[in-house]
Each structure stands twice: as C-alpha cells, then as structure tokens.
C-alpha cells in the first residue's frame, strides 16, 4: 500500500452554472465551445506549445479533470499537460467522457488558425477569452521576438489566482427568497436531419462591423437587437404553417461580470429569453425589431438577472437537493434541462468586441466563436472592423443561414462565407 507520494490533491466544487452541464453532455450536445483566432501567417506548433505551457501556469484552474463524488461532481487538479496538435476532429467534439480523466480544454491549430476548445463546465466565453488572449500574447511575442525587442506589450487580463478561481455565483448569492415560479411556455423548435456522426456544421460570415452598425442605426437600434430580430425573421421564414402558433424564443447568454463585479476565469453568466409571437404581431422587420427591443429592455435589468441568479443558486443550497445522491441529481438535471429546452427555439450569443494590446493587433486577422448546438445557433464577436457571425448547426439544412445572410447581402453588406463542411466531389 505504501507507494510514492503525490502532491496533495486540490479539488474545487463546480459553480452554479456548471452544474447543469455534466449530466447533459452527450454526443449530440457536447457542451463544448470554440474560440478561433486567425493569424496573418501559418501557425508554428512548437511555439504554440511553449505558449500553452506558459499560459497554463497562470490558469491553474483549467488544469483539472472532472470527477464524480457521491453527491456532486468536482474538479480535481491533475498533472496532465495540454498538448498542442493539428486540428484532427470535427469542431466542438466531446471533451468530457464520464469516468475518463482528461483535460477539459484543447488547443489545436490548422494553417493560420489557432483553436481553443473548452468544456462549458470549466468556463464561459469571457473566462476562456482571458485564457485565449494570454495564450495569443505569449505566442505572438515569442514568434515575432524581433519586433518586440524594445518593449513587450501589456497583458491586459489582470486577476490574481484566487480571483480567477472565484465562484462568483456563490459570492453574489444573497439567499433572498424568490417565489415567483417561472412557467415554461412551449416555443417553436427547429427540426432537421443530423449527420451520421452528429458532427457540428459551422458556417461563418465575415463582414464589416461598420456596415452592420450603420444598418442597425438606420433601424434606430443596437447591433445585438438588429441581428436578433434578423435571426428571428430567418427562423420564421422556415416555420411550417402548423408550428406558427408557437412563439420563437431566442435564448441569449448574458455576461454577469458586467452587472456584478468579478474577474473570474470560470463560469459567470446567465441567460435571458427573447420571445416574439408571430400570431399576435406582424412579421415585418420593423415590428420584430420593436418587439425584440422591448423584450431586451424588460429582461436585461440588474434586478431580473439577480433574481434569476438567486433562484438557481437557491436550488443548489437547498438542504434536500444537497443530500440526494449524484445519480438521482443527474436524472433531475436531465429532466430540468429537457423542460427548459422546450421553451427555447435557438440561441444567440454575442461575445462582443474583442480587444488585444494594440501592438498585437497587426498579427491577427479575426476572432471567431461558436458553441456546440442542438439547434442552429449563432455565435458572434468582432475584432477591429471585422464582425464574424457563426452559425453552428447539427442539421444538414442551411435554410435559416441562407435567409439570414441573404437579408444582409440584400441590404448591400459584403459578406464572405466559410463553411466547415464541404460537399464531396
């Protein structure tokens, strides 16, 4: 029994948002998201590996494996090191396999692109972006050493180890009682045919952010509202007549760090639902924009977000929920997820404007992000003048994507389309 002693093992609980992910992870919905950075030149594997090695030291929280306890899942620190490889599998493939101990993120590259894939239980978009930007900082400053002889640029992510590890849900949980029950109304659900291996098909459109902003301003609204409305209209155009009685509901993740102080590298997001009922309202873009705008104004308030956050945290702190064995919790969370899912048509996540130190910007062409999806889903972010809107979809059909991008191109926006899947030929 006496064997070599290892370092004492560190373990952490999953944060509130992360708890829903492990029981609901499967081949069809891997709960993995990807950040892409396209550089001006081809990626050098060795230098990227060195950069990863340096970055992981600053983010020890990501060097962990997910394990099952008797009552809860937990992260356990590990000695595993991330290994950089050339992209070898479809986007957002499984990262977490029950009973297997592997890292929950992966850095791959292909030609000019660096990809960071991360399991959602570990971090949300903003958390992972901190890691990604640090990685790019080390990569670029090492690959182009000559250019940075005089002075190294600043690394703009400033957080202590403890701050990065922080469970911000716990920190901002007030324990206030929220008794208002949320009723899930059935939303229209997009159906389609999947491929044999359930792979995600990604269609990205690159455009000039200024053109889109100008369009949004012409409708007297913001970029997010405009594109949300456009997505709704694109979905509406494909709705079968029988399904038109259901509202279209878009789930929009919100970065809670904006509303509640936190710089955590883990999850800290909530979601709001933007709903539009085409039976009660008109289907022209102006009306949809008006409806969406009102929904955003109603849902996106600190008060509502705090209530929602507290309600979810209260479940976790509930004495009965805590002593229920994990396998029963798994069933409950799968059931809850299914119910919640019935009320959602699609998801739109806007990472927003990504900034890097101005000395690093000349080496980067664009940033891109998308998430594993059970239904067509939009992920978007902008860098400099480039806005990238990515559709991730498990379905073969591309009609919603076509409607969406055609509406933009008809307005005169120049779009470049890139697809992850290619017809055989």
């Amino acid at each position: 029994m006496l064997m070599t002693r290892k370092k004492p093992v560190q373990w952490t609980r999953l944060d509130n948002a992360a708890k829903i992910f492990p029981p609901n992870t499967n081949e069809k919905d891997t709960k993995v998201f990807r950040f892409v950075c396209e550089l001006k030149e081809e990626v050098d594997r060795e230098i990227l590996q060195e950069a990863v090695n340096k970055t992981i030291i600053l983010f020890p929280v990501y060097r962990s494996v997910l394990r099952k306890g008797v009552f809860w899942y937990y992260f356990e620190s590990t000695e595993l090191m991330p290994e950089v490889v050339e992209e070898y599998k479809p986007p957002c493939s499984m990262l977490y396999h029950p009973n297997r101990r592997n890292l929950l993120f992966e850095v791959t590259y292909y030609r000019k692109r660096i990809n960071l894939e991360m399991y959602h239980a570990l971090a949300d978009g903003t958390g992972a972006l901190g890691f990604f930007k640090t990685l790019l900082y080390f990569y670029i400053t090492s690959k182009y050493k000559e250019d940075f002889k005089e002075q190294l640029p600043n690394l703009d992510y400033d957080a202590s180890f403890a701050q990065k590890m922080d469970d911000s849900f716990l920190k901002h949980y007030t324990g206030e009682k929220c008794l208002n029950k949320v009723k899930v109304t059935r939303a229209y659900r997009i159906a389609g045919r999947r491929s044999i291996d359930n792979r995600l098909k990604v269609l990205e459109g690159v455009m000039d952010v200024k053109e889109i902003l100008a369009l949004a301003h012409r409708y007297n609204t913001t970029l997010t509202v405009y594109l949300t409305a456009l997505f709704m209209k694109a979905i509406y155009q494909e709705m079968p007549a029988r399904a038109k009685k259901y509202p279209v509901v878009l789930s929009v993740p919100v970065n809670l760090r904006i509303y509640f102080p936190s710089v955590t590298a883990r999850n800290f997001f909530g979601t709001i639902n933007i709903s539009y009922d085409f039976t009660k309202n008109k289907d022209d873009l102006d009306s949809i924009i008006k409806g969406v705008k009102e929904e955003f104004a109603r849902e996106l308030t600190e008060e509502k977000l705090r209530k929602h956050m507290n309600r979810l945290s209260a479940l976790e702190h509930n004495a009965f929920m805590r002593i229920v064995p994990l396998f029963i919790k798994d069933w409950v969370l799968r059931f809850a997820n299914r119910i919640n899912d019935k009320g959602i048509t699609a998801t739109l996540s806007n990472i927003g404007k990504i900034t890097v130190a101005k000395e690093l910007a000349p080496y980067i062409t664009l940033f891109n992000c998308f998430n594993s999806a059970r239904r067509p889903q939009i992920g978007m972010c902008s860098f400099g003048d480039r806005l990238v809107i990515s559709f991730a979809s498990p379905f073969d059909g591309t009609d919603i994507q076509k409607n969406f991008f055609r509406m933009l191109s008809q307005e005169g926006v120049a779009i470049t389309i890139t697809s992850s899947s290619r017809e055989v030929g």
Partner: protein
Amino acid sequence: MQYCDHCKVQINGAHLVCPLCGGIIEQKESAKEEEVFPQIPTIYQEFNVFIRVLLFISIAVTVISFAVNMIFTKESRWSILVAAGILCMWISLFFIIRKRNNIPKTIVWQVGLLGVLSVLWDASMGWIGWSIDYVIPSICVGAMIVMAVAAKILKIGVRDLIIYFLVDGIFGFIPIIFILFGWLNVIFPSVICVAVSAISLSALMIFEGDSMKTELNKRMHI
C-alpha cells in the same frame, strides 16, 4: 474567391456549390485557395465485434437450450438456469464495460454484484449456503489482492485506490454477521476474510489516514 450570384456573397475555400443555397457557383481558376477547416472523414461508431459475437452466441445458446429442453426433457426446467447464467454474465459485463476506465471501481462493483448474484443463485436453488460460506469471503479477499497487484502493475496512485480499498475492506466485515448469527456451515473462509480486512483497514488508517480523510472529504462533500 468564389461568388454566389443568388446569395450575393463571397465564398471562401474550394466549393462546387454555394454552402448557403446549394446553387451552382462559377468555378474560377483561383479557387484552389487555402482551406480554413481540415476535411475530416465521417466517423462511424460501431459496436465492438467481440460484443456482437458474444451477444449472438448468448441468444443462440439460450434459444437452443429452451428448444432442446422442450423437446427432450419436458419434466425438468434446466434451460431457465442457462438463461439466468447468461443474464448474470451480461449484467456483470455491462458494469465492467461501463466502469472500464476506472479499474479499482470496476473491481469493487464486481465484488458487490457477484456477492448479490451468488446469494440469489444459492437461494433460488434451494439454499445450501455455498454463497456465504465460500463465495462472499473469497471475492472480498480476492479483490483486495487483485487491487494491490493491479495498483503496482498499472501504477495507480494511492489516492485513486484508497476509497475502493476502504469500501472493499468494509465489505470484508460483512461475514462477521454470518458468523454471529451462526448461518455458516464452514467457518474458516469467513474468519480469514474478516482478519484480512481488519489488518488492511488498520494499515490503511495508520499509514494513509490523512490521505483517506482528504479523499473522503472530496468525494462525500455535500
């Protein structure tokens, strides 16, 4: 870069049809541009051939034994035993496959499972007592030996093993109940089992007490 006239968009990469609308796009010489995504062939997931063959043999054997039973030996019902045996094998195999990534866990699950199954067999065949006389004590001790050997060979760390060793050690105390209630015909396997469990559990507490405490805290946190 290629261009789709219908969608009015530029298209990156060498496509034959527009990835949005599926319409034909004009081929240009310069279309042999750089790929942005690698082309990954379809991944086909298939059941292991071994599992399929085993499943087929199981079904065939069960059906044949029922048929033979009905034709030649109407008075006895031995084919039910065959079917039950095959069913038990599959239950055991199911857990082995499911937990295969964690060897100590697989072993402990098998100890529990085989213990229960052996008692069920013993009871359903007119209680003789072989399950608690021999099977349960010997699998508890056997599992401890297998775990210790496997840990050495496969280099499984102390902290990954400790809980399973503890659970098996606690299982090893169950035969005390059999001894106290005088259910046993043969006492020596149970005595050995309890003695071995007591010695290994005390060794575990004395030498690995701290690791055990952290490990328990970690796994049992509520």
